[in-house]
Symmetry: C2
Subunit: 386 residues, 2 copies
């Protein structure tokens, strides 16, 4: 096991009818900016619950934060924060709204020339404006971590940011919100959380026995509840476990002391940039090829995953590893998610070269847990995913 540091101060408020609890989590003298996305919260009743809980707290709203939270939109929210002397942010939404709120938390207290620095120069935020979240879409884990990804259309950039000052003070997780999520987004959420775990788990053995088992626990639970959540999003037992699994998949715990990969995310982002494919689906497209291509370096963990998560008992290590990749692909397919790029676009030819070139142009530093994957390797992986 590698040395590690772990600290996660976010307060989780989990369960049925918990949105009302935000009343006591936000200081009564705060001036709140309530941030949300496209307005679905006004249809499913979540908005009304939030406004009721904030009835005695001065609150201004900023809606319309898009998926892949957009820098220009966020700058408008930043103007509101400054003009209105906002002191507390409340994100009501999924990963995009929460990520956007993290950027605003950092930017509100940033005293450099331009908030773009935070993203472009990779400035870690030690202290941000305090914020809480009400999660409406289990998937990204942003509700209990300190990272965010922000998109700038103008320059076609998608950049990561974070820092110890960007943990939500609290996050409300009421699994009842799942009932109003469209099936497509539920399948995406399950896939996203599943892939978060695989990126932190499918590397090479390092003797972190407990972290491995925790990772396997999340995978087993997602596999168990996925068909139930999709079939009946009012199944409270299934949705509670789905929601808590998504949070635990990326709150820092399972990555401590172990190598992590994240190449699937690195390559997947390009497919979103090129074709607008949903983030989770890009991961499902790339993952099987990535694991097949890197079978030699990953086969021990792939076989362990196959044995423990998919109950594969037949074959040697390599055969078990291959069977585990097959099972993963079948799992995504079973959620209604295609795992081949050609199912998403007819214009897939040349994509591998294009992505390899983008990586080269950006100044290549290597992908994967060994930072050893070259642009040529990436080209091959993407070709295998056609």
């Amino acid at each position: 096991m590698n040395n590690f540091e772990f600290k996660n101060p976010t307060k989780i408020i989990f369960g049925k009818d918990t949105i009302a609890k935000i009343t006591t989590e936000i200081p009564s003298e705060a001036k709140v900016l309530l941030l949300y996305g496209g307005g679905s919260i006004k249809k499913n009743g979540i908005y009304d619950q939030v406004r009721a809980a904030l009835s005695d707290i001065e609150t201004i709203e900023f809606g319309g934060i898009p998926a892949n939270p957009e820098y220009d939109t966020l700058l408008k929210a930043l103007d509101v924060i400054k003009e209105e002397k906002i002191t507390y942010l409340l994100a009501v939404g999924g990963g995009s709204v929460i990520d956007g709120t993290k950027f605003l938390s950092a930017a509100a207290l940033y005293d450099g020339d331009t908030p773009w620095d935070i993203l472009e120069k990779g400035i870690k935020t030690e202290e941000g404006m305090p914020f809480g979240t009400v999660l409406t879409l289990p998937a990204t884990g942003s509700e209990m971590n300190s990272g965010a990804v922000i998109t700038r259309k103008e320059t076609k950039q998608k950049l990561a940011m974070g820092g110890p000052g960007l943990f939500p003070e609290f996050s409300v997780l009421d699994p009842q919100v799942v009932t109003s999520i469209p099936e497509r987004q539920l399948a995406n959420g399950i896939t996203d959380a599943f892939m978060h775990v695989l990126e932190q788990y499918l590397t090479y053995p390092i003797g972190a026995l407990l972290q491995d088992r925790f990772a396997e626990s999340i995978l087993q639970t997602l596999i168990e509840v996925a068909p139930k959540v999709l079939k009946d999003p009012t199944d409270y037992k299934a949705t509670t476990n789905f929601m808590w699994s998504c949070t635990m998949a990326l709150n820092g715990l399972i990555q401590k002391g172990v190598p992590t990969d994240w190449a699937v995310h690195g390559i997947g982002h390009e497919l979103t940039a090129l074709f607008g494919i949903d983030h989770a689906r890009t991961l499902a497209i790339i993952a099987p090829s990535h694991y097949k291509f890197n079978l030699d370096t990953k086969k021990e963990k792939l076989a362990q995953y196959g044995e423990r998560v998919w109950n594969i008992t037949e074959g040697d290590i390599e055969e078990k590893a291959k069977a585990a990749i097959q099972k993963t692909e079948e799992f995504f397919n079973g959620l209604g998610i295609d795992t081949k790029l050609s199912k998403y676009t007819d214009e897939y030819k040349g994509t591998a070269e294009t992505i390899a070139k983008r990586f080269t142009d950006r100044g290549w530093t290597g992908l994967g847990e060994h930072k050893s994957l070259t642009p040529d390797n990436v080209q091959e992986i993407v070709e295998m995913a056609y």
Copy 2:
């Protein structure tokens, strides 16, 4: 799954040669009281590492905190804190030193008549004097939770305390400390952590699939590493997993959203009070009888535990449950820990009645996850453990 709230702000600093890191965790202007136990840290090199890390920070020492931290001893430390205007506490030790430090953290800022109130009136500490820990004995989990148990010999009381203000600010976990721990204490630590998990897991099914699997993960890991830790405490792979498992067993995570039992601890404390038997060993004595006695209400979880943790495949639910209890007893025996009271004392007769009477005299409120166990039930459980 039940509704729950979870917040754990302790920063964990885990791994080889990490004690030096306390330098940057404690404010340089702090005046530190360094607290420790019987002085073993002066023999194994930990004391020297701590003093080196504190070389530029004003530090006073208070040694001699005994196992089952004693109220009268702690009052002497409290005098030092007040006379010397201490601003920061550093516990270097196992659960007893850390628990004692938590009491001092609370008492230092308590403005009531007597610090005894904190224990007797069950006052929750919202804010304590800041403190950190350097863990020297993996077992209790106190390094990453906000609870403590304090003993007062004078009145033969052992009382629990806690509150959100009593999380350590940081805890340093260097698995190399395990190399100097006597085998008896290692066996106790493994048993203590194992029983912490069982108390939070062996109740009744409530659909908390992920929490169940996390609990099973800790149990499986303890079972895997226990013989290795006992055989060779310099086995770094084994000790890292032992140490991290002990912390995760009682940092709040696996108890969230589920019923918990804690009857084994409640009864076990009495055996320590009556016979001075090591805490962990009292748990190993009581647990098998407790689970046999409550087979009807616990058999579903016992059978699940048997299947998943002990790979029991034969028999119906009740048979699997019984086999799981048997396996648990064998596991403790394999660590060199006897599971019958008569192996610890010749004067065991009448113990069951004595304990039942003590519970009755104290004003009975019921034990176990249903709060349904009566003093008569306790008497029967203890008799079964003779």
